[in-house]
Symmetry: C2
C-alpha cells in the first residue's frame, strides 16, 4: 500500500459518508411550491423527474424541399404490429413548428438514434433556425436519402427508421399533441441484436437525456426473464 | 509495461476491429418483413428501437383497499406548469388492468423511480398476480403512505411523486390509452439537484429500460447550454 492509496481511500470514505448524510435530506415540493419556483428552475426540475429519456432526431422535408432535423426526448412505443411510435409536440400556431408542418405536408418522417459521438450536434438542432435553414448543415450532420423515402435520415445514426404519419392526438390538459407514426423501414447494425431480437443500446453507443440538456451514456446492467407470478425469485433479504 | 498489459491491449484491438467489421452490416427490415418475424422477436425488436426508456413504478390503491404496483417504461413529460405526465396502457376490458381501474376509482396515483438496487424487484411487478395480491409484498418492496395521499409510494424509491388524474386520451391507431396526471407532491434527495434545478440521475442511481426486460445504468456524459442559433459551436472537423 502506498501513500496515494491511503489518501484516496480516506477521501472516498469521507465522500461516501457525506453522501449518506446528504441523501437523508428529502426535498418536498407541493404543487403550489412548484408553481412559485423560478421559471427556469421549475422547468429543469419537472423535465427531470420522469427519469431518463430517449435521444432521437426526427428528420422531415418540406414540400418545397427544405430538410429539417430536430431533437425529441419524448418518443414513446405504442404498439408492435408492425410498430407504432408517438412523440409530443408543443402547440402549433403560436410559433413555427417545421417538424409538424412538414409531416402534415408529406405524411412521413424519420426517427434516428443519437449516439455519444454526435450528442452535441444533436443537442444544437433545438436552436431556433429560420425555416429555410437546414439543421443538418448548421449542426454538422449529414442528410441521407434511402429507397425513395421522402424524409431525410441522419447518416451518422446507425439505428434509424422511416415512419408514415397515421394519427395526431390532442392532449387538452397541456395543450400539446401526440404525433403518431407507423414504421415502414427499420435499419440497424446486425451485430447489435441477439438471437431473441433484443437490441443492445450500449453496443450502439446510444445515449439518454435528462431535463433539457444533460446527456447520459448507458451501461448494460441486467436482463431478467419474462416475469411469471409462479416463478418469482426469493426477494427476502 | 508488463505482459498482462500487452495481452489486454491486443485483445482490445482485436475486439475493436471485429466490432468495426461487424458494424458495417446493416439489417434492413421493411414493414412487411417485420410483420413476418417470429412474434417474440418482433416484440423484442420493436420495443427496443425507440431508445432508452425510463424505469418507473406506478402505485395505486383500490377502493376496497388493495395496494397495486406496476412497472411502466412509457412515462412521458407533457408540461411543466406545475407538471404533467402521461403513460401508455394497453386496452382495458380484454384483461384486468388494476392500475387503470384503481386510478378511475380513486383519481390518484404515484410515480416512483426504480434505482439499480431494486431493479429485479421492480421488473417482477410485471407478472400477472391476482387482483387482491399486492405486488409490494410479492416483489419485496415497501408501500409508504404520506400526507393522507390515497395511493401508495415506494419506500425504496428516493424520487417519487403524487399525481391527480386529469385526462385519459384514446389512441385509435394502437387501441391504447394515455393516462395523464398532474403533479401534487414531489419528493427527491436535496443532494441530487444543482442550483439550476437539474437533477442528477446518476447520483440517484436511476436506471433505464430497453425492450421488455433489459436494464441499463446511467453515466453522466455532458451538459450543453441552451441552444441558440447565434451561438453555435464549430462543428467542422
Amino acid at each position: 500500500m502506498n501513500v496515494s492509496n491511503v489518501v484516496d481511500n480516506e477521501a472516498f470514505q469521507t465522500t461516501k459518508s457525506q453522501n449518506a448524510k446528504r441523501i437523508q435530506h428529502t426535498m418536498h415540493l407541493t404543487k403550489e411550491a412548484i408553481l412559485k419556483l423560478d421559471r427556469i428552475k421549475r422547468i429543469n426540475i419537472i423535465n427531470s423527474v420522469s427519469g431518463i429519456k430517449p435521444a432521437n432526431l426526427i428528420g422531415t422535408k418540406s414540400k418545397s424541399g427544405n430538410n429539417n432535423l430536430a431533437i425529441f426526448s419524448s418518443v414513446v412505443h405504442l404498439g408492435s404490429t408492425p410498430g407504432y411510435f408517438g412523440f409530443i409536440m408543443r402547440p402549433t400556431g403560436e410559433v413555427r413548428r417545421d417538424t409538424y408542418d412538414n409531416i402534415m405536408e408529406t405524411g412521413v418522417f424519420t426517427i434516428n438514434h443519437i449516439h455519444a459521438s454526435f450528442a452535441e450536434q444533436g443537442h444544437y438542432t433545438s436552436a431556433k433556425f429560420d425555416a429555410d435553414v437546414s439543421e443538418f448543415e448548421t449542426c454538422g450532420l449529414s442528410p441521407e436519402f434511402k429507397l425513395d423515402f421522402e424524409a431525410p435520415f441522419v447518416k451518422e445514426s446507425t439505428l434509424k427508421m422511416a415512419l408514415k404519419h397515421v394519427e395526431t392526438v390532442p392532449i387538452k390538459a397541456t395543450n400539446t399533441i401526440m404525433v403518431i407514426g407507423e414504421i415502414q423501414h427499420l435499419f440497424f447494425p446486425d451485430s447489435s441484436m441477439n438471437e431473441d431480437g433484443m437490441i443492445d443500446l450500449e453496443a450502439l453507443d446510444d445515449i439518454g437525456i435528462s431535463g433539457l440538456n444533460t446527456y447520459y451514456q448507458l451501461k448494460k446492467m441486467a436482463s431478467y426473464p419474462f416475469a411469471r407470478a409462479t416463478e418469482l425469485p426469493n426477494f427476502d433479504s
